[in-house]
């Protein structure tokens, strides 16, 4: 017999049960009886309680036989000792009557409805037991028009029950405010924007509304709520470092649709359009399905065995002739941890060189390096969840609503709830609308600005002396550096008035918990790694480390940037970040792999290209990278590819780079493989194959295992759990990770024994012992120094929500109908100077080359700054990007390019490349 604990128990239909603080009546009932025991229509777990449909009504009394009141359970808080009656005649009748009223204005054609069998209205109607509708047919909304205008989103509002879940999803989850209810009472109806179609609205196709809608009134072209699918697989999105969990619905080994799991800690029923809708690339006709070997200038289809034999022969030959250091591998931050681990193992243990790198080189290598210098670990200190606890958000050089959409939406939501937001970015990006401070600096002056930022914290007496004194080192050198700053010069070079910086610095330093996020606008600079260290300085000097709601949090571009580095796809550190040139570590790896490994630091990607050009590098193995299109200064990269003796490319599509290959191995996409990805908050999550690999293709991990075996290394066959087990034995912070134990929501590393994750790092001390302050004086980028006079404008690049890098995948999906070209953004003043009007063709030219793009005139960039994206490689933006690199990590400086521009024609003239019309087949020019 349970006795009444006055603070934690209440009666549910006479039974005394425990509740949790803050429970609504519905949450209490759901927990004990399961969702659906009390019917609901307007409530959804991912949304705030709304209380409008009243189907969830229950009777409550304060005493056993006390007077009863009917309340909506979804928003009424439970109180201790309350008696909740969920099944009285009174509430059952009420529920029936409400549903009956709803059905008077609902088409009764369930059998032909796309959500038949998975419709909440249908379920609730069955549950409450509607027999007949007593109301004669009257005026209704049954012949509303469908909206099929959009590449993904659809609506059929004749099915709408006015529950406002879609509106709330758009407001509360995505923060886009596209949908609203128009009109009153019976005339109330859902509208998009100012009563337009989905296509003409500001909808960003996140699909949150479709997932939230209880009927088919708002849906999508994949009919994601339909129950046609026979299987559902939970996996992880491959498009960015947020690491959204996806539920992939399949039938007959075909992907039908994707939804976001309601219990996903990362993305609670939310995704962006890439994760949810951009999957149709996976079985696109363009997919490579046979291994190809180049003979006499063209590719010939071969069997896997023939391909392997060809590779073994050539690699063995080259290694024998030129030594192992004439071979290199480039791994991919798109691939799983297991695949990255195997790739570096292959290069290190089987080939015998440290010439292994990955695409993190071109994005976040400065983060890994910089944070290691400051804290000892190159990874986010905190979790995205900490946004719920922080009281000040600092975003530097990142455009989270486009680049990291689900995290971006969360930042937006917090800012709308009043958490002060500081944005340091050269552009007026979307979150600037919600920001309290925007420091719109000139590209390339991050270091100067952050120095001034730190200076004002010092000058304002806001330094956390205790924290600095007990947990950090090198303060006095840093302080001396700050005191030597020339603020007038900084103001001039950054173009940001000092008072603005002072105000923002004060906000950051005085808030009880401040959290910073940074992106490629920090790293892809000549002083990228140094900028990361300056961000770390800010956190340390204000004590914003080691607690909830604080820290330094890189927003990773690709889905597994973190993991690729963790797994050792770097020339200087092996799996688990042990230094390869430390003899003790060399021995450790040697013993573990059972093969001799090199103690020499290997080549970074730009060094590999250079080595190829001057003949030192003979063979290159590329796993899932299109370096010709995505690395800067494309012409030079092509030259390197041509110079190679032997190039192996593992790919899913024929890319510009693959065209240079000697062997192309057709790999499998993320939907066809298993393993783990590590997201930007160090969360190691399970990727599960939703469908088998397309016939003829193999998952990358399997390919590497097989080539290792063919090269004579006793590598076990690929299984995700098997490789993870191997990893857990060598990577210290994976020690406790097991495939089973990672569970649905993954674990944040370090994963300690028993699968215990670590949401917040550096609690009491830093990984490196004391946190280290660094001071760096700002220096103008070599690019501007060399070319600034001749090319007086600064071009900075970024990306769009709708596309992923060079678009290999997204451009083979409906996303291509949403955004059809890269455009160049020019400030009105500059446009006027050059006689450019919106839509005109513009030629951009730098010291290296030129591109032609259409223009958009906007004040989102300041005069002197030009902005463009790089998703449409046929525009060849990387023809003009520079060769300048971060001095510490060789990460290329994509963000600062000295250019000039001129108008070359009006928008109608075919002055540039033909621009694809909307609605064309998703086939790329290759």
């Amino acid at each position: 017999m349970v006795t009444l604990n006055p603070t934690t128990h209440a009666y549910l239909d006479g039974q005394l049960l425990a509740f949790q603080p803050g429970d609504t009546i519905l949450k209490f009932v759901d927990r004990h009886k399961g969702r659906g025991f009390v019917p609901t229509l307007c409530d959804a777990p991912q949304l705030d309680p709304y209380g409008a449909c009243r189907v969830c009504s229950v009777e409550v009394a304060l005493k056993e036989d006390g007077p009863r009141r009917v309340v909506a359970s979804c928003h009424t808080p439970l109180s201790a000792g309350m008696h909740v009656h969920t099944q009285t005649q009174k509430v059952q009748k009420l529920r029936r009557n409400i549903v009956e009223l709803v059905l008077t204005d609902h088409p009764l054609d369930c059998l032909t409805c796309e959500v038949n069998g998975n419709c909440e209205l249908q379920t609730v109607a069955a549950k409450v037991g509607i027999r007949k509708v007593r109301y004669p047919e009257g005026k209704n909304h049954l012949n509303r028009q469908k909206d099929l205008s959009h590449p993904y989103m659809t609506s059929d509002l004749s099915k709408c029950i006015n529950c406002s879940r879609c509106v709330r999803a758009c407001d509360e989850v995505q923060g886009q405010f596209v949908l609203s209810m128009h009109g009153r009472g019976f005339d109330a109806r859902i509208i998009k924007g100012f009563d337009t179609s989905f296509e003409d609205s500001e909808c960003v196709s996140c699909g949150a509304c479709s997932q939230a809608c209880p009927t088919s009134a708002i849906s999508d072209i994949f009919q994601s709520k339909a129950i046609v699918a026979t299987e559902k697989t939970r996996t992880i999105c491959t498009y960015c470092g947020v690491g959204c969990n996806l539920d992939v619905a399949t039938k007959n080994n075909e992907v039908l649709s994707i939804q976001a799991p309601l219990d996903a800690e990362v993305n609670f029923a939310h995704t962006c359009l890439k994760g949810r809708y951009a999957f149709r690339f996976y079985n696109h006709p363009d997919r490579l399905r046979k291994p190809l070997i180049r003979t006499n200038g063209h590719f010939e289809e071969v069997t896997w065995e023939q391909a392997y034999a060809h590779i073994v022969e050539n690699l063995t030959r080259i290694r024998a002739e030129y030594g192992p250091d004439s071979i290199a591998g480039i791994s991919s931050a798109r691939c799983t941890n297991e695949e990255n681990y195997l790739m570096q193992k292959f290069i290190r243990a089987v080939i015998g060189t440290n010439n292994i790198d990955c695409c993190a080189r071109v994005c976040h290598s400065p983060t890994a390096f910089g944070m290691q210098q400051s804290f000892g670990t190159g990874a986010a200190t905190n979790s995205v969840e900490d946004l719920q606890h922080t009281q000040c958000i600092l975003v530097i050089g990142a455009n989270p609503t486009e680049g990291h959409p689900v995290t971006g939406a969360k930042i937006k939501q917090r800012a709308m709830k009043g958490v002060p937001l500081i944005v340091i970015d050269p552009r007026e990006i979307e979150i600037v609308k919600y920001a309290k401070h925007h420091l719109q600096l000139r590209p390339g002056t991050n270091v100067a600005l952050l120095n001034m930022f730190a200076y004002f914290i010092l000058e304002g007496g806001m330094v956390d002396r205790d924290f600095v004194g007990s947990r950090c080192e090198n303060w006095s050198e840093f302080e001396a550096g700050l005191r030597s700053l020339d603020l007038d010069q900084i103001e001039e070079v950054t173009g940001v008035p000092r008072e603005k910086v002072r105000a923002a610095a004060t906000e950051y330093a005085e808030s009880p918990a401040s959290m910073s996020f940074h992106g490629l606008g920090v790293t892809e600079h000549s002083m990228g790694a140094k900028t990361v260290m300056l961000i770390a300085n800010l956190a340390m000097m204000t004590g914003n480390i080691g607690r909830p709601g604080v820290g330094v949090n890189p927003l990773r571009g690709q889905n597994n940037v973190q993991g690729a580095a963790d797994m050792g796809c770097q020339p200087h550190q092996g799996a688990g970040y042990m230094r390869v040139n430390d003899p003790a570590m060399q021995r450790l790896y040697q013993d573990f792999y059972g093969m001799p490994v090199s103690g020499e630091i290997g080549l970074k990607i730009p060094e590999m290209f250079e080595a190829a050009r001057n003949g030192r590098l003979k063979a290159l193995w590329l796993m899932g990278e299109d370096v010709v299109q995505t690395d800067p200064n494309s012409e030079a990269v092509k030259e390197s590819m041509n110079a190679l003796d032997f190039l192996v490319v593992q790919e899913i599509f024929m890319t510009e780079t693959a065209k240079f290959a000697n062997v192309i191995l057709p790999a499998a996409s993320f939907l066809e493989k298993s393993g783990t990805f590590t997201n930007a908050e160090r969360r190691v999550q399970r990727v599960n194959a939703a469908v088998p690999p397309l016939e003829g293709t193999k998952p990358d991990g399997q390919i590497i295992c097989e080539i290792m075996q063919h090269m004579g290394y006793p590598q076990a066959d690929y299984t995700a759990d098997g490789v993870l087990e191997e990893i857990s034995r060598v990577v210290p912070f994976f020690k406790g990770a097991t495939w089973e134990g990672l569970g649905d929501n993954g674990k944040q590393w370090p994963v300690k024994e028993g699968n215990v994750g670590t949401p917040i790092m550096h609690l009491d001390s830093f990984k490196r012992g004391l946190g280290k302050f660094h001071f760096f004086a700002w220096q103008e980028s070599q690019e501007v120094l060399e070319h600034g006079l001749e090319f007086p404008y600064i071009l900075t690049t970024g990306r769009l929500l709708e596309h992923y890098n060079c678009g290999t995948m997204t451009r083979r999906t409906g996303n291509a109908d949403i955004v059809v070209e890269d455009v160049v953004v020019i400030n009105p003043a500059d446009a006027a100077k050059k006689g450019v009007t919106g839509g005109d063709w513009v030629r951009l030219f730098s010291a290296r080359g030129e591109v032609r793009l259409r223009s958009r005139i906007s004040e989102e960039v300041k005069p002197g700054v030009i902005y463009t994206t790089f998703h449409f490689p046929e525009h060849l933006v990387n023809n003009i990007t520079s060769d300048v690199h971060d001095s510490d990590t060789l990460c290329p400086e994509y963000k600062v390019v000295a250019i000039d521009f001129e108008r070359v024609g009006s928008g109608d003239e075919p002055a540039g490349l033909p621009i694809r019309e909307k609605g064309r087949a998703h086939t790329l020019p290759v």
Binding site: C42, V70, H75, L94, N97, K139, M181, G185
Partner: protein, 466 residues
């Protein structure tokens, strides 16, 4: 105070006790500040800013003031609901959305005596610690909005609003906000949403009790125009003295707005509970129209439950229960509640025997069907169905069963919605059916029972019985 003369033909009735309406229809009175200052304007504000804020709240409590917006909630008590630990700004909103059918009092105050409202608001703001206040004016009152804006400018210039009011450290900014043209904007949480620039969807309570999570999620006091004006007079008279007006627990004066089938409809400020419904009709309004008999009265705005002319009511007089007729009901909060209706917003609607009951109900139902904000399923769908069914009754196309269906729709709205509109729209139907079932059934047709109907009917022309 003496020697107030009124425009001829608009003199107050001798049974009136004018406090709030003292300057309404007053000869030579204009809405300007000068006029207001002539007989003691802003003196109470000057006094207030020297007092402890809590002392003012205490006076309002002692005065027993109950809200004049509809619910009759004790004003002083409402003010104390602001959490004592609050650190957010406190807001005060004057609800000037006056849109309950049958109610027409606030507009006169705003048109003719705006400074009285401003002074009342300033005192209330001082008492609750608000530095920013809004007057939410119904969209259909553009003049009121303009007049108030002028008054605010004048008062600010004269130091009665703005920084350092009357030489004290009290600052107050006051803004007029024009409403959004919907009845639901008068519901306090709908009003707050509207003021925030959103659709006026009322908020769920809990958790959004305005005094805790109101405007911009900060503590907010919402009071009616008339309620706020009373604050000034309470300060002038002292709470205890004010409480002597009216009857115990029903203190002060209030403005009755009488409309419908009487000789002289209009507004009358009387001491609460000191006149009966019979006296309202006979004395204040000069009786019914010639040859007509009283059929029903809606005593507190269109949402109040209807009272039938020949009904008998049980009321407590002292310790005794007495049985009285409609004409003997004292016009106060408690008596009207005891008689099964409410004092509401003070709108008294008189219905004589020339009106067909089904038409009256249909008229009310049409209003609510038009005004339901559409958020709650029972209200959105139910208010429309109530109208559809009463449409049918009026058109003579209903079967007797329809009356029962009508009643069950109403029963499923009351108490099952987010805001009190649910009650407002279902009480008329519930009470009309309870009290006039026979009359309603008489308008239906037996032979239609069980016959499927196409329900789209237009209102039949005749709304008069004879």
């Amino acid at each position: 105070m003496s020697n107030v003369t009124y425009i001829s033909g608009k003199e107050p009735h001798s049974r009136e006790h004018r406090l709030i309406f003292r300057n309404i229809d007053r000869k030579g009175y204009d809405p300007g500040l000068k006029c207001y200052l002539k007989d003691g304007g802003y003196e109470q504000l000057k006094k207030a800013v020297t007092m402890e804020p809590k002392a003012i709240t205490d006076e309002v409590k002692a005065a027993g003031l109950r809200g004049r917006g509809g619910a009759g909630f004790p004003t002083g008590l409402k003010w104390t609901f602001i959490p004592p630990t609050n650190t957010k700004p406190v807001y005060l909103i004057c609800n000037a959305d006056e849109s309950e059918p049958g109610t027409f009092k606030d507009r006169y105050i705003m048109h003719q005596d705006p400074h009285q409202l401003l002074e009342g608001m300033a005192i209330a703001c001082y008492a609750v610690g608000a530095k920013l206040a809004y007057i939410y004016v119904r969209e259909e009152f553009p003049h009121a909005a303009r007049i108030l804006e002028e008054a605010i400018a004048e008062a600010t210039k004269a130091g009665f609003l703005g920084k350092g009011i009357c030489g004290s450290t009290f600052d107050l900014e006051l803004y007029v906000h024009r409403g959004a043209g919907a009845y639901i904007c008068g519901e306090e949480t709908g009003l707050i949403e509207s003021l925030e620039g959103k659709r006026p969807y009322p908020r769920i309570k809990p958790p959004f009790f305005p005094a805790v999570l109101g405007l911009y999620m900060s503590p907010t006091i919402v009071n009616n125009v008339e309620s706020l004006c009373h604050v000034k007079h309470i300060l002038a008279m002292g709470g205890a003295e004010y409480a002597k007006l009216g009857t115990p627990n029903n203190t002060g004066t209030r403005i009755l707005c009488v409309s419908g089938d009487v000789q002289k409809p209009g507004y009358f400020e009387v001491q609460v509970g000191k006149v009966t419904l019979g006296e309202v009709i006979q004395d204040l309004c000069g009786g019914l129209k010639p040859g007509r008999k009283l059929q029903a009265v809606i005593p507190g705005g269109s949402s109040a439950k209807v009272l039938r002319a020949d009904e008998r009511f049980k009321l407590k007089r002292g310790d005794e229960m007495v049985e009285i007729g409609l004409e003997d009901i004292p016009m106060d909060f408690d008596s009207l509640a005891a008689c099964g209706s409410m004092a509401g917003s003070g709108g008294v609607i008189i219905i004589d025997d020339s009106r067909k009951i089904s038409w009256v109900l249909n008229n009310i139902n049409s209003f609510y069907a038009h005004e339901s904000c559409g958020q709650c399923t029972p209200c959105r769908e139910g208010s429309l169905w109530m109208k559809k069914i009463s449409d049918r009754i009026v058109a003579g196309k209903a079967s007797p069963d329809d009356v029962a269906t009508l009643e069950s729709v109403a029963n499923n709205i009351e108490g099952k919605t987010i805001c009190a509109f649910g009650e407002a729209c279902s009480w008329p139907t519930q009470s009309f059916i309870r009290k006039f079932r026979e009359e309603l059934v008489a308008d239906t047709r037996e032979e239609l029972a069980g016959v499927p109907v196409n329900h789209e009917t237009t209102l039949a022309a005749a709304n008069l019985k004879n």
